[in-house]
């Protein structure tokens, strides 16, 4: 089993590091260049949310190997304020920061699996997977 990659997220440059690591991992595991870009984009959105809303957190990347398929999993964790209405947050255009509001729903669209777990006052964890096509 390959080792996980952990990128602490606090500053904007950490977002860049996380998505570059994600792109490298995707490339090393046989993702097409389009899919590498989609993975990098999803990581960028989720890591940016950590910086914007939770101040700090962590992105963990791991290659997945199951019978017959390969992929990667991205787990972004923070102990920030959490999301009051996760269903609403997943809607396109919804933003409490007057930004585009496409980060969460967009990341969900570009990845194969997406799970948002959040608890008010406790934090947020986003788990996303994408499989090699």
């Amino acid at each position: 089993m390959s080792a996980e990659i952990r990128v602490p997220i606090e500053h904007e440059r950490d977002i860049v590091t996380a998505r570059q690591r994600g792109r490298e991992l995707a490339a090393a595991n046989g993702f097409s260049s389009t899919d590498q870009t989609l993975v990098a984009l999803a990581i960028s959105e989720i890591a940016r949310n950590i910086v914007s809303y939770a101040k700090r957190g962590e992105v963990m990347l791991l290659a997945l190997e199951e019978t017959g398929r390969r992929g990667i999993v991205v787990i972004a964790r923070d102990e920030g304020p959490g999301i009051a209405d996760p269903e609403l947050a997943m809607k396109d255009g919804y933003s409490t920061a007057k930004s585009l509001g496409v980060g969460l729903p967009g990341a969900k669209r570009v990845m194969d699996e997406f799970k948002l777990e959040t608890q008010l006052g406790k934090g947020t964890t986003v788990t996303m997977k994408k499989w090699v096509r």
């Binding site: 952990r6 606090e10 590498q36 989609l38 960028s44």
Partner: protein
């Protein structure tokens, strides 16, 4: 810096370096520091405490003879603090507690070395001298049972290697930080707005765009549009690997602001991967003019300005009559 400021900044450095309690435990495992070592360390506690002044002198004397360590030994502020921390270090080394508090102290001293520009090699040399002095004192104490003395010293050496691990990481990280800052400075300088022709600007964007850089790009572009009374801007993003929603939004706003100032923006070099990913994200690109490559973009810009390209040998179009 007040004490609580210092504490806060240390805590944030601990976080930056991923020095959680688990990570600290892992470091101990790696150097092989076990509960059995604690007893052996306790056995040399007094020797080390008694010789602390002398060991410290060995460390700083070694440094004072080296040119490379001059910034540390000639700055009184740094030197005094370093001595203070080193003394605390020698005391803590034999206390048997190597948790968060201990690591924070190591971190503070390491950051001071980094600030003084101390090279790793120089630090290792000084640390070696310090350990040798401690080792000799321990062996003298255990003259009658050298094997026991040696084992005690080896246990203490595990702590020393645990310390070195942290200090080396800090020095490496500080060096990387310096390099990153230099790169950032270069990148910021390298967002030139070029005037290609009268009223036509070229903005080549290379590398990583983060929101900070996007803001700089917006500012310098709008300034250049005003200064050159530009009508067309070609913004080339060839080689930009990722554009996320926040950066895309910045670029879209730049395009809109430029339009309000009377300049049309043509975006070139958007890779198909980036274009697809933006569409998947749900970002509306239809409002911006994109042209495949830079060459095509420049030609389009010339057309907008009313220039016409003629091949050599083509007949000149009839002149248009102007009144003046």
């Amino acid at each position: 810096m007040t004490v609580s400021d210092r504490q806060r900044s240390l805590q944030s450095s601990m976080h930056d370096m991923g020095l959680t309690e688990e990570a600290i435990e892992r470091r101990k495992r790696i150097v092989g520091l076990e509960p059995a070592d604690l007893g052996r360390i306790a056995a040399v506690k007094d020797v080390v405490a008694r010789g602390a002044e002398e060991f410290m002198a060995t460390f700083f004397e070694f440094l004072s003879k080296l040119d490379e360590a001059r910034p540390l030994v000639t700055s009184h502020g740094l030197l005094d603090r370093a001595r203070q921390l080193k003394k605390a270090h020698l005391a803590a080394m034999v206390q048997g507690e190597y948790g968060t508090r201990y690591v924070e102290q190591r971190l503070e001293l390491a950051q001071l070395y980094a600030r003084a520009g101390l090279e790793m090699l120089v630090f290792l040399g000084a640390f070696h001298h310090l350990l040798r002095a401690i080792g000799s004192a321990i062996m003298k104490q255990f003259e009658r049972s050298p094997m026991e003395g040696f084992e005690n010293f080896m246990s203490l050496q595990k702590v020393a290697f645990f310390d070195i691990g942290i200090i080396v990481d800090v020095l490496v990280m500080e060096r990387e930080r310096t390099i990153r800052q230099q790169e950032e400075a270069i990148r910021e300088l390298s967002t030139p707005v070029l005037q290609v022709r009268d009223r036509m600007l070229l903005l080549p964007i290379i590398g990583v765009i983060d929101t900070h850089r996007a803001r700089l790009i917006t500012e310098s572009l709008l300034r250049a549009i005003r200064a050159n009374r530009a009508k067309v801007v070609v913004m080339d993003v060839t080689g930009v690997a990722t554009i996320d929603s926040k950066v895309a939004n910045h670029l879209l706003q730049t395009v809109t602001a430029a339009r309000l100032m009377g300049a049309l923006v043509i975006v070139t070099g958007l890779s198909s991967e980036v274009a697809q990913s933006l569409v998947a994200l749900g970002i509306e690109l239809s409002k911006i003019n994109t042209v495949g490559d830079l060459q095509g973009g420049l030609e389009e810009a010339e057309r907008v300005l009313g220039y016409r390209l003629l091949r050599n040998g083509d007949a000149l179009p009839p002149p248009t009559m102007t009144e003046n």
